[in-house]
Amino acid sequence: MRKMTDLISINCVKLLISALFYTCVLCSSVEQKIYVVLNETVPCVRLLNATHQIGCQSSISGDTGVLHVLETESDLDWILSSGPHPPYMVIMETAFFNRSVMMRMKNSSRVAGVAVIISKTGLADNFSPHTTCPNQNTGVYSESYGSDLANCNGTVWNPLGNGLSYEDFSFPVFALKDENQTQVLRKCYEDHNQRVNGSAPQYPLCAMQLFSHMHAVTDTVTCMRRTDLQNRFSINPEVLCDPLSDFNVWTSTRPLNNSAKGHAADESVVIAATRLDGRSFFWEQAPAAEGTVSGIVTLLATIQALYPVTQEAPPPRNIFFSFFQGEAFDYIGSSKMVYDMEKNDFVIDMNNVHSMLEIGQVGLLSGRSLWMHSDPVSRQNKSVDTEVSEMMSRIQSAAAGLKLTVDHPSVSQPLPPSSFQRFLRARRIPGLVLADHNTSFTNRYYESMYDDAENLNVTYPPGLTPDEQLVYETDAAKSLAEVATLVARSLYLQAGGEENNLNNITADPKIVAQLLYGFLVQKNNSWFRSLLPPEVTKKGVNSILSPGPPQFYIGLGPRVHGPAHSVTRFVQYILANLTGTVTNLTESQCQNPSELSTENKDLFSYFWVSGPASVNGTREPFCVRASVRLSKAVSPAFELLEYGSRNYSTWTESRWKSIRARIFLVASRELERKDAFAGRLSDSPAQRRTSRCAAGWRSVLHSGWDSDCLRHCADHPLLQIKDAFVWR
């Protein structure tokens, strides 16, 4: 008797184990048959500053909603008031992505999330999600300095701005950039969710789930305090947010001793500056063509034009070129450099600065004149006024031989948002900001995803290979080369150089064309590859040389994301190529040049670069010596631990666990409930199977397992959608 029961129990155990095995092996494959994962999406994330949070947040287990495509006004009414299956997940056509529609979505409880289709069809004439008065609280104009000019009382710089980037949304907003993926969504919508003859669609309906749960809340002060508490008292500390940080790039015509901080003896310096970054509504998307690339390309071409002459016939003053990172977020880079100068922690200090020339947005000239903006408040001082007037007359005389005209706006107009404002906050130095606009920006897509090559009129005739496109000189390239020549000659005169050397200073339009191609169209081109170190060119998918144009969002810097941001490295290595000298050092000598007596690590940096590819594809790397340096661009508020600072930038980016999106078919609530509790007691086997498959994973689990389900799931309509579009 005992043996019999033993045998039965052993068989039961074996049956149980095999049943579990069968179940568990098939678990994941059914999940794949239910959900279609969307890979090519871009989220909107949460950013915080001293007092507010902006961006988007989803719930911790994702937000689910029934899909509805927003194409007409009646769709908007359906979503917001009359549709019978709230909450809705809105697929928004490009034309509807504006402030009024998004604010209505924000105030409604029937919207679970928004997926915006990013395309040029249906794009409005202008779209700028930035504020109308960029960086109004951290510029130079305030209650105590030019109070009638503060908060854009004098001039509204970005009148087309709708401020969407600075709103706080409690639902996820994703961007759909891939056309094929948008087609999948449209097909699912047309097959299941479309209204037939005005009546509501029936279950099962196509639904989408978006996950973008952000960890940080309220503001930077709260987030940093909670991170500190976690680090001190928790066993498993979690960082909630990270400050935005990266590096500034600087160089000078005469090398400066990097180890000697504070005032540099006998150095009078003219600063030439521009910004390195941009932003948009979505995370890490910022093509920033007119807003940023025009300035970077112009300053790089200026350096290329100026460098040979400053070596042959050096002017009395040094010229200091600086690319500031993080200017979109309350002037992170420039405030850090000014802070270091005041603390005597930089190679020069404010006493060394003679004057400053900044290059703003200069890409959309189209035959009009260039404008020289100055600060009216500091010009009330006689000496500063004379210096500024002299600077303007030097620029006018430099423009005499060129096709450009320069003009200055009315004397009472304030400075546009620019890094020069941070320098003025420290000391009233004479300076100018060059721009292609007089009163408000000519850029109709300021700090948005649509400020791309097309906005700058950089288009190439069809049928060119990438290498031919690289050197093709568009009209934009020629125009920027003119501006660069003007800036180079003006800087030479400003630094005290001789007028008869001016004709030797011209910017090369071919270099400008190559820079425009690399920064606007394709960063993985042959010229960039020859400038960068060999390990970068050989790396895999996550290399900074991935296909497409570079994105100019500042990111979280070396603490979180490895070495410097891709754009910072490009500018660094391009400067090394334009201003450096080739040396015959070996690779190990290039890494440790201090061992050699002829090389000076204090005055120069040494870069091991790939070199151009020869005919059979091999490269011969070599060592370049240049006086190009990186300096940290993190807001002084984080060094001083004043997270609620009003004087410095306090922008941080929240952390998150996972960001993903998926679509599936969903059953009505009643059916799901019935399945979960009634299980095998419901109507017919066929309906049981349909409702089980259609209702998703949870219902299957509740109502028990049936191997027939698997066979039935194979003919399920959702699978047919998936098979129609092959995924990698």
Binding site: H213, M214, H215, T222, R225, L229
Partner: protein, 101 residues
Amino acid sequence: MNLERIPNEEKLSLCRRYYLGGFAFLPFLWLVNVLWFFREAFLKPTYTEQLQIKSYVKKSALGLIVWVAVLTTWITIFQHFRAQWGEVGDYLSFTIPLGTA
């Protein structure tokens, strides 16, 4: 432990120990006291020690009600106002939820 088999003096001393122990910020002892000795104190036929046991059970119940009221009030206030208290709220919290105020 089955109270049937214990002599009455031991029952009294047990009840007293639980009652006194509850004063050390241990209201669960009072809860146990009330639930365990309720039948002994009120539903059994009278015996000598029953009067004292009854008084201990009543006092335990009183203490328990006070504790429940205080805890409920504090928990409600904390859950409702923690976000608005900012710094104080964070220092009073053991774990702070991610992503919500």
